[in-house]
Amino acid sequence: MWSALRIAATRFVSRPLGSAGLALALLLAGGVPAEAMRVSPVILDLSATGRGTTGSIRVENPATAPIAVQLSLTRRPADGAAGGPAAEPADDAFLVFPP
Protein backbone atom coordinates (compact mmCIF):
# COMPACT_ATOMS: atom_id res chain seq x y z
CA MET A 1 0.00 0.00 0.00
CA TRP A 2 2.84 2.36 0.88
CA SER A 3 4.47 1.72 -2.48
CA ALA A 4 1.19 2.13 -4.34
CA LEU A 5 0.47 5.42 -2.62
CA ARG A 6 3.97 6.66 -3.17
CA ILE A 7 3.79 5.82 -6.87
CA ALA A 8 0.41 7.51 -7.16
CA ALA A 9 1.74 10.62 -5.45
CA THR A 10 4.83 10.58 -7.63
CA ARG A 11 2.80 10.32 -10.82
CA PHE A 12 0.69 13.27 -9.86
CA VAL A 13 3.73 15.32 -9.14
CA SER A 14 5.52 14.42 -12.37
CA ARG A 15 2.74 16.03 -14.43
CA PRO A 16 1.86 19.70 -14.43
CA LEU A 17 -0.28 20.05 -11.33
CA GLY A 18 -3.26 22.13 -10.53
CA SER A 19 -4.17 22.74 -6.92
CA ALA A 20 -6.68 19.86 -7.08
CA GLY A 21 -3.98 17.47 -8.24
CA LEU A 22 -1.64 18.57 -5.50
CA ALA A 23 -4.40 18.24 -2.92
CA LEU A 24 -5.14 14.72 -4.12
CA ALA A 25 -1.46 13.82 -4.01
CA LEU A 26 -1.22 15.11 -0.46
CA LEU A 27 -4.43 13.28 0.44
CA LEU A 28 -2.90 10.08 -0.85
CA ALA A 29 0.23 10.85 1.09
CA GLY A 30 -1.87 11.04 4.25
CA GLY A 31 -2.14 7.25 4.24
CA VAL A 32 1.58 6.73 4.22
CA PRO A 33 2.45 6.86 7.93
CA ALA A 34 0.35 3.73 8.60
CA GLU A 35 2.98 1.81 6.68
CA ALA A 36 5.94 3.61 8.17
CA MET A 37 8.34 2.10 10.67
CA ARG A 38 7.28 1.36 14.24
CA VAL A 39 9.34 2.43 17.21
CA SER A 40 9.09 1.27 20.82
CA PRO A 41 9.16 2.10 23.67
CA VAL A 42 8.06 5.75 23.71
CA ILE A 43 9.70 6.31 27.11
CA LEU A 44 13.07 4.90 28.07
CA ASP A 45 14.16 5.10 31.70
CA LEU A 46 17.86 4.74 32.44
CA SER A 47 19.91 4.96 35.61
CA ALA A 48 22.89 7.26 35.73
CA THR A 49 24.90 4.60 37.57
CA GLY A 50 24.69 0.88 38.27
CA ARG A 51 23.12 -1.79 36.10
CA GLY A 52 20.42 0.35 34.51
CA THR A 53 22.66 2.54 32.40
CA THR A 54 21.79 0.64 29.21
CA GLY A 55 18.52 0.43 27.30
CA SER A 56 17.17 -0.51 23.88
CA ILE A 57 14.99 1.12 21.26
CA ARG A 58 13.29 -1.30 18.90
CA VAL A 59 12.61 -0.29 15.30
CA GLU A 60 10.30 -2.46 13.15
CA ASN A 61 9.82 -2.20 9.42
CA PRO A 62 6.38 -3.54 8.41
CA ALA A 63 7.10 -3.07 4.70
CA THR A 64 8.90 -5.59 2.52
CA ALA A 65 11.48 -3.13 1.24
CA PRO A 66 14.46 -2.30 3.43
CA ILE A 67 14.59 1.14 5.03
CA ALA A 68 17.44 3.29 6.27
CA VAL A 69 17.19 4.75 9.77
CA GLN A 70 19.41 6.88 11.94
CA LEU A 71 19.28 7.81 15.61
CA SER A 72 20.32 11.11 17.12
CA LEU A 73 20.08 12.41 20.69
CA THR A 74 19.29 15.87 21.95
CA ARG A 75 19.02 17.26 25.47
CA ARG A 76 15.53 18.52 26.33
CA PRO A 77 15.22 22.02 27.74
CA ALA A 78 14.66 22.20 31.50
CA ASP A 79 11.01 23.19 31.26
CA GLY A 80 10.31 20.44 28.73
CA ALA A 81 8.10 22.80 26.75
CA ALA A 82 7.79 22.96 23.00
CA GLY A 83 8.92 26.21 21.46
CA GLY A 84 11.45 26.80 24.23
CA PRO A 85 15.20 27.04 23.85
CA ALA A 86 16.68 25.03 21.00
CA ALA A 87 17.60 21.48 21.91
CA GLU A 88 21.31 20.80 22.29
CA PRO A 89 22.94 17.77 20.67
CA ALA A 90 23.69 15.09 23.26
CA ASP A 91 25.24 12.33 21.18
CA ASP A 92 28.41 12.50 23.29
CA ALA A 93 26.49 11.61 26.46
CA PHE A 94 25.56 8.16 25.13
CA LEU A 95 27.23 5.24 23.47
CA VAL A 96 24.87 4.15 20.69
CA PHE A 97 25.11 0.77 18.96
CA PRO A 98 25.03 0.41 16.04
CA PRO A 99 26.81 3.74 15.67
Binding site: A29, V39, A48, G55, D79, G80, L95
Partner: protein, 153 residues
Protein backbone atom coordinates in the same frame (compact mmCIF):
# COMPACT_ATOMS: atom_id res chain seq x y z
CA UNK B 1 17.41 -2.42 17.50
CA UNK B 2 19.49 0.42 18.91
CA UNK B 3 21.25 0.03 22.23
CA UNK B 4 22.01 3.11 24.29
CA UNK B 5 24.42 3.39 27.18
CA UNK B 6 24.66 6.46 29.39
CA UNK B 7 28.23 7.78 29.54
CA UNK B 8 27.57 10.93 31.52
CA UNK B 9 28.27 9.49 34.97
CA UNK B 10 26.44 10.21 38.23
CA UNK B 11 23.68 12.81 38.30
CA UNK B 12 22.01 14.77 41.08
CA UNK B 13 18.63 14.69 39.34
CA UNK B 14 16.90 13.45 36.19
CA UNK B 15 18.12 14.70 32.87
CA UNK B 16 15.80 14.41 29.87
CA UNK B 17 16.67 13.69 26.27
CA UNK B 18 14.98 12.98 22.96
CA UNK B 19 16.17 10.06 20.89
CA UNK B 20 15.06 10.85 17.33
CA UNK B 21 14.69 7.79 15.12
CA UNK B 22 14.56 9.05 11.55
CA UNK B 23 13.53 7.01 8.57
CA UNK B 24 15.71 8.34 5.81
CA UNK B 25 14.31 8.83 2.31
CA UNK B 26 16.92 6.56 0.80
CA UNK B 27 16.10 3.56 -1.36
CA UNK B 28 18.84 2.58 -3.77
CA UNK B 29 16.48 0.23 -5.63
CA UNK B 30 14.02 2.93 -6.53
CA UNK B 31 14.21 5.51 -9.32
CA UNK B 32 11.45 8.01 -8.83
CA UNK B 33 11.17 11.74 -8.80
CA UNK B 34 8.45 13.11 -6.58
CA UNK B 35 7.44 13.45 -2.97
CA UNK B 36 9.61 11.65 -0.44
CA UNK B 37 8.67 11.39 3.20
CA UNK B 38 10.94 11.74 6.17
CA UNK B 39 9.40 10.00 9.17
CA UNK B 40 10.78 10.77 12.62
CA UNK B 41 9.80 9.22 15.95
CA UNK B 42 10.84 10.79 19.23
CA UNK B 43 11.55 8.58 22.22
CA UNK B 44 11.67 10.30 25.61
CA UNK B 45 14.83 9.21 27.38
CA UNK B 46 15.23 9.96 31.09
CA UNK B 47 18.43 9.36 32.99
CA UNK B 48 17.96 9.48 36.75
CA UNK B 49 20.04 8.89 39.88
CA UNK B 50 19.51 5.40 41.28
CA UNK B 51 17.65 6.58 44.36
CA UNK B 52 15.57 9.45 43.08
CA UNK B 53 11.97 10.48 43.57
CA UNK B 54 9.66 13.21 42.32
CA UNK B 55 8.09 15.75 44.67
CA UNK B 56 5.38 17.51 42.74
CA UNK B 57 3.89 20.58 44.40
CA UNK B 58 0.97 22.75 43.35
CA UNK B 59 2.11 26.35 43.57
CA UNK B 60 -1.26 27.81 42.62
CA UNK B 61 -4.61 26.95 41.08
CA UNK B 62 -7.26 29.34 39.83
CA UNK B 63 -10.29 29.39 37.50
CA UNK B 64 -9.35 30.10 33.89
CA UNK B 65 -10.76 29.79 30.39
CA UNK B 66 -9.34 27.13 28.11
CA UNK B 67 -8.07 28.00 24.64
CA UNK B 68 -11.49 26.97 23.33
CA UNK B 69 -13.22 29.30 25.78
CA UNK B 70 -14.55 26.58 28.07
CA UNK B 71 -14.23 26.34 31.85
CA UNK B 72 -10.85 25.34 33.16
CA UNK B 73 -8.30 25.53 35.93
CA UNK B 74 -4.87 27.07 35.60
CA UNK B 75 -2.36 25.08 37.62
CA UNK B 76 1.20 26.10 38.35
CA UNK B 77 3.25 23.04 39.24
CA UNK B 78 6.74 22.69 40.62
CA UNK B 79 8.87 19.59 41.02
CA UNK B 80 11.11 19.83 44.08
CA UNK B 81 12.29 16.24 43.78
CA UNK B 82 15.18 14.58 42.02
CA UNK B 83 13.16 12.59 39.48
CA UNK B 84 10.75 13.69 36.73
CA UNK B 85 7.06 13.82 37.62
CA UNK B 86 3.89 13.24 35.61
CA UNK B 87 0.77 15.02 36.84
CA UNK B 88 -1.36 11.96 36.01
CA UNK B 89 0.76 9.82 38.35
CA UNK B 90 0.76 12.26 41.25
CA UNK B 91 -2.55 11.20 42.80
CA UNK B 92 -3.69 14.82 42.63
CA UNK B 93 -7.35 15.66 43.28
CA UNK B 94 -8.89 18.95 42.20
CA UNK B 95 -11.83 20.25 44.23
CA UNK B 96 -14.35 22.86 43.12
CA UNK B 97 -15.87 24.70 46.10
CA UNK B 98 -18.89 26.95 46.25
CA UNK B 99 -18.51 30.37 47.88
CA UNK B 100 -19.94 28.78 51.05
CA UNK B 101 -16.91 26.49 51.19
CA UNK B 102 -18.87 23.36 50.42
CA UNK B 103 -17.26 21.00 47.90
CA UNK B 104 -19.28 20.88 44.69
CA UNK B 105 -17.21 18.44 42.65
CA UNK B 106 -13.92 16.57 42.92
CA UNK B 107 -11.82 15.34 40.03
CA UNK B 108 -8.94 12.93 40.19
CA UNK B 109 -6.42 14.30 37.73
CA UNK B 110 -5.65 10.83 36.43
CA UNK B 111 -9.30 10.50 35.40
CA UNK B 112 -9.69 9.84 31.67
CA UNK B 113 -12.28 12.58 31.26
CA UNK B 114 -9.91 15.17 32.72
CA UNK B 115 -6.83 13.82 31.01
CA UNK B 116 -8.46 14.20 27.61
CA UNK B 117 -8.20 17.92 28.21
CA UNK B 118 -4.47 17.99 28.85
CA UNK B 119 -2.94 14.66 27.86
CA UNK B 120 -0.35 14.71 30.58
CA UNK B 121 2.06 17.14 32.11
CA UNK B 122 5.71 16.35 32.65
CA UNK B 123 7.62 18.43 35.18
CA UNK B 124 11.36 17.94 35.31
CA UNK B 125 13.18 18.29 38.63
CA UNK B 126 13.69 21.91 39.58
CA UNK B 127 11.26 23.08 36.90
CA UNK B 128 8.00 24.95 37.20
CA UNK B 129 5.21 24.54 34.66
CA UNK B 130 1.80 26.08 34.08
CA UNK B 131 -1.09 24.24 32.45
CA UNK B 132 -4.79 24.92 31.88
CA UNK B 133 -7.01 21.89 32.45
CA UNK B 134 -10.43 21.75 30.82
CA UNK B 135 -13.17 21.02 33.35
CA UNK B 136 -16.70 19.72 32.70
CA UNK B 137 -18.34 22.18 35.12
CA UNK B 138 -18.43 26.00 35.28
CA UNK B 139 -15.92 27.35 37.79
CA UNK B 140 -16.30 31.12 37.53
CA UNK B 141 -16.69 32.60 40.99
CA UNK B 142 -15.76 29.34 42.70
CA UNK B 143 -12.73 28.35 44.69
CA UNK B 144 -10.39 25.68 43.38
CA UNK B 145 -7.86 23.64 45.28
CA UNK B 146 -5.61 20.73 44.43
CA UNK B 147 -4.38 18.19 46.96
CA UNK B 148 -1.64 15.73 46.28
CA UNK B 149 -2.24 12.93 48.75
CA UNK B 150 0.06 10.09 49.67
CA UNK B 151 3.55 9.65 48.36
CA UNK B 152 4.48 12.10 45.61
CA UNK B 153 4.36 10.87 42.02
Amino acid sequence: MFRLQWLGGALERTEAFHAAVEQLPINPNERVNGIRFLVTFLVNVYVSPERSAPALRVVSVEPAATAAGGPGARLTLENLGTRYAYLSQSGAVLRVRRPSGETERSFALDDDEIRRGYGDVLVLPGARKQVVLALPVPVAGKTLSVEIAGPPS
